[in-house]
Symmetry: D2
Subunit: 337 residues, 4 copies
Amino acid sequence: MTIQLGLIGAGRMGKVYAETLAFGVPEVSLAAVAEPNSAALEEVAARYHIPHTFNDYQALLDSKEIDAVIIATPTGTHARVVMDAAAAGKHIFCEKPLSQNLQECDLAIRRVKESGVKLQMGFMRRFDPAYRAAYLKIQAGAIGTPVMFKATSRDPKRTSLEFARRENSGGMIVDMGVHDFDLARWLMGAEVELVHSLGACLAFPELKDVGDIDNAVVNLCFANGAVGNIDISRNAVYGYDIRTEVLGTEGSLQIGYLQQTAVLTLNRQGVTHDTVPYFMERFGTAYAEEVRVFVKHILDNTQPDVTGEDARAATAIGIAATRSLDENRPVKLSEIN
Amino acid sequence: MTIQLGLIGAGRMGKVYAETLAFGVPEVSLAAVAEPNSAALEEVAARYHIPHTFNDYQALLDSKEIDAVIIATPTGTHARVVMDAAAAGKHIFCEKPLSQNLQECDLAIRRVKESGVKLQMGFMRRFDPAYRAAYLKIQAGAIGTPVMFKATSRDPKRTSLEFARRENSGGMIVDMGVHDFDLARWLMGAEVELVHSLGACLAFPELKDVGDIDNAVVNLCFANGAVGNIDISRNAVYGYDIRTEVLGTEGSLQIGYLQQTAVLTLNRQGVTHDTVPYFMERFGTAYAEEVRVFVKHILDNTQPDVTGEDARAATAIGIAATRSLDENRPVKLSEIN
Amino acid sequence: MTIQLGLIGAGRMGKVYAETLAFGVPEVSLAAVAEPNSAALEEVAARYHIPHTFNDYQALLDSKEIDAVIIATPTGTHARVVMDAAAAGKHIFCEKPLSQNLQECDLAIRRVKESGVKLQMGFMRRFDPAYRAAYLKIQAGAIGTPVMFKATSRDPKRTSLEFARRENSGGMIVDMGVHDFDLARWLMGAEVELVHSLGACLAFPELKDVGDIDNAVVNLCFANGAVGNIDISRNAVYGYDIRTEVLGTEGSLQIGYLQQTAVLTLNRQGVTHDTVPYFMERFGTAYAEEVRVFVKHILDNTQPDVTGEDARAATAIGIAATRSLDENRPVKLSEIN
Amino acid sequence: MTIQLGLIGAGRMGKVYAETLAFGVPEVSLAAVAEPNSAALEEVAARYHIPHTFNDYQALLDSKEIDAVIIATPTGTHARVVMDAAAAGKHIFCEKPLSQNLQECDLAIRRVKESGVKLQMGFMRRFDPAYRAAYLKIQAGAIGTPVMFKATSRDPKRTSLEFARRENSGGMIVDMGVHDFDLARWLMGAEVELVHSLGACLAFPELKDVGDIDNAVVNLCFANGAVGNIDISRNAVYGYDIRTEVLGTEGSLQIGYLQQTAVLTLNRQGVTHDTVPYFMERFGTAYAEEVRVFVKHILDNTQPDVTGEDARAATAIGIAATRSLDENRPVKLSEIN
């Protein structure tokens, strides 16, 4: 049996999923795509041989032959499209976040539950081989009890000023940190209870005009007493730098890498290698794997592990960390929830 | 336009190509497969949704709709199938080697030329991102004039005793070294003129009974005076270990890596990472890329860079190196050609 | 001319300096040692061929032939010994900290100034080749403007419970973090203005009984707006783990290493190397170098770069970070000073 | 008890030993130095506070208070000085080689034996922590039975043309390879039986005029059937590159490193680190350690592990490998001995 998939959204992330589905996930057929921008719609449909196209995603949801949808619409619309898809009885894979509004998260989660469809959220890092291996090692006791979480999340370039506005991206900490907040909960096996952020606009002064920052550090306190820290930057001009450490009572794990191509150049300047350019080079296989796993959950009728509640929890940490930045004080998650 | 491809051979390498074509190469349709073993034929056809199946590859070659074939039959049959495919007017991608008999190589090359079809040989390492980057760096002068070539080729486990027989594999130096001999010519930009080998059966005594060895070192002298050395082993129990160095007058390049998953485990035993298990983990993307390039040559009507002559030259070095082992003396390529 | 040095204190750090002076610093003669514990005094004097011994350091200070002293007494006595040495007209190399009481720091700094002797504080990391190289690269603009400081300081084992008491060590953040606070100011070229700490006793419950913790994270805000974070742990059972990063607008520097011995073991368990056992293996050459530089300042009559003010500033950050931990709020340095 | 040492030879290697003895080996006193060049003699004596100086080494040997000597004279004189020192009853540490003439080696070894003095040869790599650790791992069975030896020995710059003459250096293979030949025997636990070399003058044409080469590869066959290869180059412009591998039936060891300073620079050009400049940076501690061990053998009255026979064996391999280069054929050690 082949799952008939509909793609909702043909922007940057929509193209990522179209590419992934076209070549990397054998068990599905990408049968339809919906996108209000006709040029983008036609381009994606033509490039990936998608037979059915819609400007209005509701029309896609009305298609009887569609089993499941991938939602890659603008961030602010995720929750509404999720609820519409649930109402239409389609299984849902939704790019993160579910919503940057926690009440909306709660509503969407309830609607999905009531409808009985499956919902998997797009925290692709959990499907990266290295993060997956680390998770399994921790579960197997390889480092004893985790006591400290560390993460570095650095982009090689500034986001667009338009997206940087807090009403669009949620601000840098929410936008970039959400993956780290999800990893923190998942790898540490504990909820975050309190956060403290410091941040500033140091590399790209133009971000200040739209209310955003470009560098931040976020301290975390977990419910079990463990501590953590995440650093986030938009000015890692050397490449896409995603690293995570979990220190335990019996050892530590370091996840991540900086070298893209396995060539060292040795000359009078020293020894040099290249870096990972951006997120698709780093997590391309994880995007494919998470969709494969989603499809398998449909085929096997099992529940996805990466839930709406996970998305809500990661967003809540981001909101708390942003409030900490704004108010220059530690913020408890209980204030947010 | 989509190229209609026929796969000839559904054994180990045939499955590699079927997998690659099914999911990794969008511009082709895998339309037919030929394999005398009916069980293997059915398995591959079913798994990869290949519509047409044949026990006799000649019947596949007779299909009008097939544009090109991938030959992954047993080594000893490559040249014959190549010639038959050329006679049928099909473009040819042929797994290495063309033949372990140089006269047969010459004949196959001539028949291909006469037929006007394209022939690309399966030296996939040339399409690995790291080897490709190294080649381009050398061309760009990054290390000055190359003066020394070094290669390590180690398998994590013994081959089957049946395959190890020289009449099947050509012996370890030919079987494993052929990729290194090809890299040597390609990266150094020079022909090999003389070789000297030492080897022995040191880890798997049972290989001696079938006339093979498990460890060897091969010195190389190039036409421009440069020197080289390749080490080959079947007992790298730690993993698949493929590394290459090119030393030049202005620097050096080191190609290859040992770590599969980007996780370091730090505990009382030290710092540990895993290794590359085997060739598909290391060169999976290269297999896809070489077929993509082959398809592009057909679509663009350009000539493949990896030719029958390249296959012949690499095999000739392997034959010379094996004769050196047998006769314990340096052997000139001019003795072989 | 050879500088006649007196060593005050023959405990753990005193022995480090005796070893360093005996074999690593040619321009000095270790002429005297003072230590109240007679057994320790005799042991060090015998082992390093130190001609003059004193139970009372004041007697050593009274020796006319002594040009300079190295102070390696218990932490709580540093300031007093510094002031006595200044009164005796001896140049002073003092192990960190100057004092954990800022008023005492100020007093000692004033006395040193009035006496005209030189004072160099023992922040040996500044003399480590890697940290030194990083500092020079930053000065040369290699990473543009520094915007983020990151440090990891992890010990492989718990300190003694006695030393862990806050009245002795100052608490883990002061004790272990002081080197990182010094590096932060030095490498970032800016003062720390505000800190926020989280910490807990997670690996060694017995530390709780003496009022200490074993894991902490400390957020930093610098006067120029840059941000930073330091993580500190006593349970890095895998080894002594000291790493520092400085991210700038044009690149980043990573300082530190984990591998002690240049051997990789490759076997069925993967690829393994050892780790750095403890601080002397990591900073042994830096201890020698800082004393060499101190001696050179005496010989050349130049002023040391690592001053009493530096020690005071690093301690102030540690006090602020500890108060932040105690009061669970960000603490401004202006509250402390 | 302190051993009174005399240093014979104050050239490049003599200075290395003077530096080492002055600061790195506590149990000895460097009491005398002999050197025909008066300027060099005075310089070394002054710099390292050596009380007694001689132009004629025989006068040094006549000194009653000297217990042992370090011989760092020109290569061609080693054997003669060794025999004279033995006749004078002095224990001997001799820089490699003992002699490039095997008969002379034999004679010197016999004289040393007859005199009863101790002789330790200067193969310092055996005292490097990494090589020492590798040796112990092999002895402990960590890699099963060693089956392949690999070594890379590359200098960052050309030697002087005068020294390059075969009558002075023995030619590049003897000069640079001798350390690798010694490691090969020591780590593999087997004698070399046959060698085959290829080499050429590729980077420095001026070396051809004095009869030397700048790049070579040397195949080795050991008495137990194991195989090996060494590559040697004078044009590693990127740094001093010494790496060794021992592959066994149960794993492999890689010894060596390329990075001198523990700083990574990450910028738009990628990730860069420096390299090891030259032999003192790489083996400085090994020079000190080998002398410490020599002194300990004297104090404990035990026999050194690195013997005249070891020096003779390494030189014999070098002679065989050079003959192989000259005659373009494999050469058996039995032809040389």
